[in-house]
Subunit: 194 residues, 2 copies
Amino acid sequence: MNYPTGVKQGRHNNITYGNRGMGLESDVNVTNEYYLLHDKAVIHKKPTPITISKVDYHSRVDAVIKEGYFRTPSTTDYNGVYRGRYIDFEAKETTIKTYFPLRNIHEHQIRHLKKIMEHGGIGFVIVRFTTINETYFLDGPKLMNFLSHETRKSIPISYFRKEGYLLKDKFQPRIDYLEIIDKIYFGGKKDEEI
Amino acid sequence: MNYPTGVKQGRHNNITYGNRGMGLESDVNVTNEYYLLHDKAVIHKKPTPITISKVDYHSRVDAVIKEGYFRTPSTTDYNGVYRGRYIDFEAKETTIKTYFPLRNIHEHQIRHLKKIMEHGGIGFVIVRFTTINETYFLDGPKLMNFLSHETRKSIPISYFRKEGYLLKDKFQPRIDYLEIIDKIYFGGKKDEEI
C-alpha cells in the first residue's frame, strides 16, 4: 500500500480503513479523519454509487454481492458540516502539468456545486497536479466564474495559481483545506478565536 | 414495483430512478427530488457503502463488480443543505405498533447525529410506524434527550407523539419534513417570507 509518508495506518482509535484509495483521495480522507478526531468538522466521503443486480444470501447475516455496476455519481464525493456551514467539494488529480481537463469533473457535479452555493453552502474543488506536486483549493464562485467566461475545456494552472490557494503538505492535518475556508468565509478567524 | 400511490415513476425530468427502495425510503427520495426540482433544498441519499473485492473489466469502459460486501454505514443515510444550514438525518420504519426499537439505528449513527449538532448542523430522525401508518419527525435534541435519560432499548410511540411532529402524507412533496424544520429552526417562516 502506497500510503503517503507520515501517515501511520490503523493507528487512530476506532477508525476502520476501507478502500481509501491513493494519492489525493487518501490525503483528503486522512485530513477528514483528523478533523473528526479533533472535533474541527464532520466531513465524510460518500460511498461510490453502485447498482446491485445480484446478491447471494449465503447465511442469515452475510450477503455477498455477486453482480454490480458503477453508477455515475450525481453529487460530489465529499460533504459535511464545519462551523455550522454546509461543506461540499470534489477532489481530483491530473498528471498534466499545465492545465486541468474539465472532463475530470462531471457536468452534473458542476451543476450540483452551483446549486449548493445557491442554497448557502460552501462549494469548492481541490485539484492536484501530481507531476509537479501542487495541490490547489479553488473556491466554487471562482470555478463558476471561469466556466461562465471561458469556452475552453480545461482550466490552466495559472488560473489556480492566481485565483486559488496552494494547499501545502503538512504532517497533520495532511492538507488543511479548512484553513482556507476560515480565510475566505470566516474572515481568517479560527475556531479558538471566535 | 410497489410504489406509493400518487408517485408517478420516471415522469420527472432528468431524474433516473435507481434502486430506490420501498415505503419510507421511497417517500423520502421522492420528497428530496421534489425539493431539488423546486429549488427548496439539495438533499441526497448517500449510496450504500460497499467493499468491493472483485471487479471484472470486460471492456474498456464497463466494469462489473463480481464480489462485494455491505459495510456498516458510519453516517446517516441523508444529508444536504437547506437555507444555508447543514441537514442530516436517518429514516427508519418499524412494523411494531407501540414503540421504535433502538437497534434499528446504529450506535455510530447516533454518535454521528450528535456530532452534527455539536457542529451547528440540523440532525433528526424520521420514523414510520408502518402498521398504523404514522410517520414522525423527531428532532435530534429530543432524540438525545431521550437517550440520555432513559435506559430502555426502545422509544415508545407516546414520546414521538409528545415530542415529535406527525408528518402527514401529502401529494407533493410526499412527506414535507422541511416544513417542520421551518417551524423549529426558522421561526415558522417559509422561504418566500424571508
